[in-house]
Amino acid sequence: MQQLSSINKAVDSRDPAVGLVAVAALRDLVEELEELHVDNARALGWSWQAIAEKLGITRQSVHKKHHVRRGRKG
């Protein structure tokens, strides 16, 4: 409950300095989760095409972002 009230307080304040930094942190978190799940899919033998379809982006985008990060090991 205490947690909920602190959320409300933060949202009520509507301070862009807080909200925007929070969104940036959320974006970083999403990036990390994406890495984990893409790595998992590749480990299970998924193709880049299949991963891209599930992520709802193009194969080229997934490939560009994750293939290089993974050291081009596939």
Binding site: Q3, V18, V21, A22, A25, E32, L33, R69
Partner: protein, 196 residues
């Protein structure tokens, strides 16, 4: 990076990490090393220890005044948008195992040459909760390593660490020392630093 530190210096670095976490900082900087050295001045040569500001709280408030804005913890930030970081962590741990979090903590952040994008501001992992090490700390350790060699030591002792820190001219620790009434140049001379 810290592998050349001796046992005493490792104790100081641990205390500095603790200090950084307590302050909610996402990086380990020379300011945290300084605060740690102030608490463990017993590990320093007497001549240098007595040149340090006597009261760590003076340095702490200088640090608070120097920061542009109060640092925000990742977990608090994410709570603003309704995400509980600890819950995400435990889900990830349950799905992929604890070693997945460890891997994230060790990952090298890949930065392709994309000048139109802002450089990634984060060299650490939200999920792993790791701290990145400030470039000034790396420079200080390089100086400290050279000082240890000059004194024919096998490893970096706390004295060498402090000397390394004062030798990085624009380090945050030097600024804090000056603002707390201490003189980095005097410390450098006391520790036998070259070029003083």
């Amino acid at each position: 990076m810290f592998e050349r530190c001796d046992v005493n210096t490792a104790t100081v670095v641990d205390a500095a990490l603790e200090e950084a976490r307590r302050l909610g900082h996402a990086h380990l900087g020379t300011e945290h090393l300084l605060l740690a050295l102030l608490q463990r001045r017993d590990l320093l040569p007497e001549v240098a220890a007595q040149l340090l500001p006597p009261d760590p709280d003076v340095v702490r408030s200088a640090l608070a005044a120097a920061a542009d804005a109060p640092p925000q913890r990742d977990a608090d930030l994410l709570r603003v948008v309704g995400i509980e970081l600890d819950e995400v962590r435990s889900v990830v741990r349950a799905t992929f195992g604890p070693e997945a979090l460890e891997r994230l903590g060790r990952r090298r952040v890949h930065q392709p040459w994309q000048p139109w994008r802002r450089p990634s501001r984060r060299c650490s992992s939200l999920l792993a909760g790791t701290l990145s090490v400030a470039p000034r700390v790396k420079q200080a350790l390089e100086h400290a390593g050279r000082d240890a060699e000059r004194r024919h030591l096998d490893a970096i002792d706390p004295g060498a660490l402090l000397l390394g820190m004062v030798e990085v001219e624009d380090a945050m620790s030097n600024r804090l020392l000056r603002e707390s009434g201490a003189d980095p140049d005097q410390i450098r001379r006391a520790l036998g630093g070259v070029g003083s």
